[in-house]
């Protein structure tokens, strides 16, 4: 289990993971991937699903960015910025956490 680290912002070396209180599931009705927790169902678009699939509690943010940059054939800075924005948003909802 990843201990929450409330004060530290997401760094290139941070290792993010989905919070133990949430999990990814396929919605039987729409076929979409969703991130479910006790209080919410977030419908994941393709990019969000790709990011979260790599948040396995082992990979660093910089590694995730590099991998997706290759996959999308896009500049790594752009990818990295959207990953940080997205994960920081989920962190505020207590749906992901990270360690250094």
């Amino acid at each position: 289990m990843i201990e929450p680290s409330p004060e530290s912002p997401l760094q290139p070396n941070s290792i993010p993971g989905i919070s133990p209180r949430a999990r990814i599931q396929t919605d039987k009705v729409t076929g979409n991937p969703v991130l479910i927790s006790q209080e919410s169902v977030l419908i994941l678009n393709a990019t969000a699903a790709d990011i979260l699939a790599l948040c396995d509690g082992k990979r660093k943010v910089c590694e995730i960015s590099a991998k997706l940059a290759t996959q999308y054939n896009a500049p790594v800075e752009v990818i990295s910025t959207s990953i940080v924005t997205y994960l920081t948003k989920l962190k505020q909802l207590n749906l992901v956490s990270w360690r250094e």
């Binding site: 409330p6 919070s19 133990p20 599931q25 009705v29 927790s37 006790q38 169902v41 962190k91 207590n94």
Partner: protein, 361 residues
């Protein structure tokens, strides 16, 4: 029934009405429906059928769901069906073995309710010696690495202690704290005069919660359920009748909301006799307040009618006697006085001895 206008996301599985506690704020019905509790196989079928309808969240509740020895099997059925499961419990009856068993079965979250932050008041509210056992249960829950939420129902007797309650939740390492103002249904409605806080209490509670929410952001989520009686607009109850939610009660009756039994002119179909899909699509009780055609004035011609759905049908029934009336939690309701007579003018002080404690079926 086309499209996703009517799609259930949540199933509340009320496994039993039996309970070791006697909370006077309990939203359970005062007169329990008569019949035998559903057997394991029927619950398993209901869970699979709910999943096929699109349900993603299941809450196991009651009464005290831990009194059912088949609880791990049902949790496992939910896990296999791909649902997120939450056990809504008083915490009485958790042992380390039980916690581990539930974890293995695939339980996603456990939500333990507390009556207050300290034993004397908490036990006086629960009508039983419970607080110390709850604290012990939390240890087992952490040992089993289950995600933990706390729920505290707020009323005149404990609302001034919110700060201490937040501290308790932090000490117990809850990931989420739900501070829920009492909803006045069932036993709570019977005890309205003794439970309803004053406006000053509500306002000060709101300020303390807002500060706690900011202070704890990213660490512990603090959810505050606003009281119905003090606002001008009703809540969009259940996100619309028969739109997002299904409750199955201990004997198998299937309701659009946990307290719909208060509405006497509804007949509830039973999962012992019908599939959940049949009930969702055809049950007269589910169809009764879908859409807007059933509405009376002022809702019928109001611009908010598709936003708040006219408020809560149970509250309208309890306060006006008319299940299709505008919820008196709306300031436009012609029955507003039925609610206002309590707010601000409630002379009673906190006196647990005067409350009627919940009894078992």
């Amino acid at each position: 029934m086309a499209g996703c206008e009517y799609r259930p996301y949540g199933l509340l599985a009320e496994l039993t009405y039996r309970c070791p506690l006697h909370c006077p704020y309990c939203s359970n019905p005062i007169r329990y429906p008569i019949g035998s509790e559903l057997p394991t196989e029927v619950w398993q079928r209901v869970i699979a059928e709910a999943s096929d309808l699109g349900v993603l969240h299941i809450g196991f509740s009651g009464g005290e769901p831990l009194l059912r020895s088949d609880l791990p099997e049902l949790v496992n059925a939910a896990r296999k069906a791909g649902m997120y499961s939450n056990l809504i419990t008083s915490g009485i009856g958790i042992t380390l073995d039980r916690a581990l068993e539930l974890k293995t079965a695939g339980l996603d979250n456990i939500q333990v309710s507390f009556q207050a932050e300290e034993a004397v008041l908490a036990d006086a509210i629960a009508g039983a010696s419970a607080h110390a056992q709850k604290l012990k249960s939390i240890e087992y829950i952490h040992q089993a690495e289950l995600a933990l939420s706390l729920n505290v129902v707020l009323h005149r007797g404990n609302i001034d202690r919110i700060e201490n309650i937040v501290t308790l939740a932090e000490t117990l390492k809850a990931e989420r704290l739900e501070l829920a103002n009492t909803q006045y249904y069932g036993w709570a409605f019977k005890n309205l005069a003794g439970l309803l806080p004053s406006r000053e209490q509500i306002e000060s509670a709101g300020r303390i919660v807002a500060a706690a929410q900011v202070g704890l952001q990213g660490r512990m989520e603090v959810v505050y359920v606003m009281p119905d009686y003090f606002g001008d607009r009703p809540k969009p109850c259940m996100n619309g009748w028969g739109r997002r939610h299904i409750t199955v009660n201990p004997i198998g009756e299937t309701l659009p909301c946990p307290t719909a039994g208060a509405i006497k002119d509804l007949q509830f179909d039973n999962v012992k006799n019908q599939s959940l899909r049949w009930i969702w699509e055809n049950s007269a009780a589910f169809n009764r307040f879908r859409g807007t055609a059933w509405m009376t004035e002022p809702c019928r011609s109001c611009e908010f009618r598709e936003k708040d759905f006219g408020g809560c049908r149970c509250q309208a029934t309890l306060l006006t006697g008319d299940s299709a009336a505008t919820d008196p939690a709306c300031s436009l309701s012609p029955y507003r006085s039925a609610l206002e007579k309590w707010v601000g003018g409630n002379p009673e002080s906190w006196n647990p001895g005067a409350l009627e404690y919940r009894i078992n079926p």
